[in-house]
């Protein structure tokens, strides 16, 4: 039997993508606990009840926007993984625009409307509604900032098919934010 020694540095380099991914997934798992606690608190405090004031149609609109942004993020990652830099920049830009639209929809339209309908952050269902959407919106904002960074770096030729961990991590984080909304949307807008 022959034993081949792999130089330490080489082995580390070989395992890096796998280690990066594992680290990212652990980070995502820990982040999901925050949202799980918020979701649990919502059901513990208010059961399956929901106030009439929240617009289901508006909720549907922002949900569609966020789902579409997940598609464009996926296309951006697929493009750079095959060295198609122009498509990467285009889809990243689209994701940024859709993410900003989602933010404007939730914080700029839904929040004022909810307050107008008497759902306020200080009491009742508003406590759950504003803490859940607020925490989520903050994550969307950080996602948009990360997307801006990868657009900036991508425009300066920073990524290629062989070297795009920054893109992969940002896009995975963006999808995670989408997954969170997949559970928040029915809990806040659709339950009877």
């Amino acid at each position: 039997m022959t034993v081949t020694a792999i130089p330490h540095g080489h082995a580390e380099e070989h395992n890096r993508p796998a280690m990066n991914r594992l680290g990212l997934w652990l980070f995502i798992l820990s982040e999901s606990m925050i949202f799980l606690i918020l979701l649990t608190a919502r059901f513990y405090l208010f059961g399956t009840s929901r106030p009439e004031g929240l617009s289901q149609l508006l909720g549907l609109g922002v949900t569609v926007i966020l789902l579409l942004s997940s598609l464009t993020a996926y296309l951006a990652e697929s493009s750079i993984a095959h060295d198609d830099r122009e498509s990467f920049l285009l889809y990243t830009l689209l994701t940024i625009i859709l993410g900003t639209m989602f933010l404007a929809g939730v914080v700029g339209l839904e929040w004022p409307q909810a307050i107008h309908e008497g759902i306020v952050p200080q009491r009742g269902f508003g406590i759950a509604y504003f803490s859940m959407t607020g925490m989520h919106a903050f994550h969307v904002l950080t996602g948009v900032l990360l997307l801006l960074v990868i657009y900036w770096n991508g425009a300066r030729g920073g990524f290629s098919a062989e070297k795009h961990w920054g893109v992969e991590a940002t896009v995975k984080y963006w999808h995670f934010v989408d997954v969170v909304w997949v559970f928040f949307y029915p809990a806040l807008y659709l339950l009877s």
């Binding site: 796998a18 569609v64 060295d83 940024i96 307050i115 948009v144 900036w152 030729g157 062989e162 999808h175």
Partner: protein, 116 residues
């Protein structure tokens, strides 16, 4: 003392303002960033193009499935008085699709060629 409707207006205005500023700043920024590639982009070879298009197609199929599930979800809310069990089931399927196909969770246990 600011009443609640004024607070809503201020909050809404501020959010929209920040959003628009962010977008304007970004668009301005892109004017000054010259797209440059250290290794100039070359035409994709046919194999690479096929692989990329295959991934694009997969993404489109997934988004169509997510769209249908979202419509079903909305119908459950409107037509079935928002039954918690059905809504939870649809949400789990939607999340599963995103995690499996968009986030590619299988990469975690699949031995494949990595990138830096």
């Amino acid at each position: 003392m600011i009443d609640i409707s004024q607070a809503a207006l201020i909050m809404g205005g501020l959010s929209l303002g920040v959003g628009l500023l962010l977008l304007a700043g970004f668009l301005l920024l892109t004017r000054f960033v010259e797209v440059e590639s250290p290794a100039p982009a070359v035409a994709l070879d046919p194999d690479q193009l096929r692989a990329r298009n295959r991934e694009y197609r997969r993404g489109l199929i997934v988004i169509v499935a997510l769209g249908i599930l979202t419509a079903v979800e909305y119908w459950i809310a409107v037509g079935m008085e928002g039954n918690l069990g059905y809504l939870a089931l649809v949400a789990v399927v939607k999340a599963g699709l995103i995690i499996a196909y968009f986030m590619k969770i299988a990469q975690l246990w699949r031995e494949e060629e990595g990138h830096a």
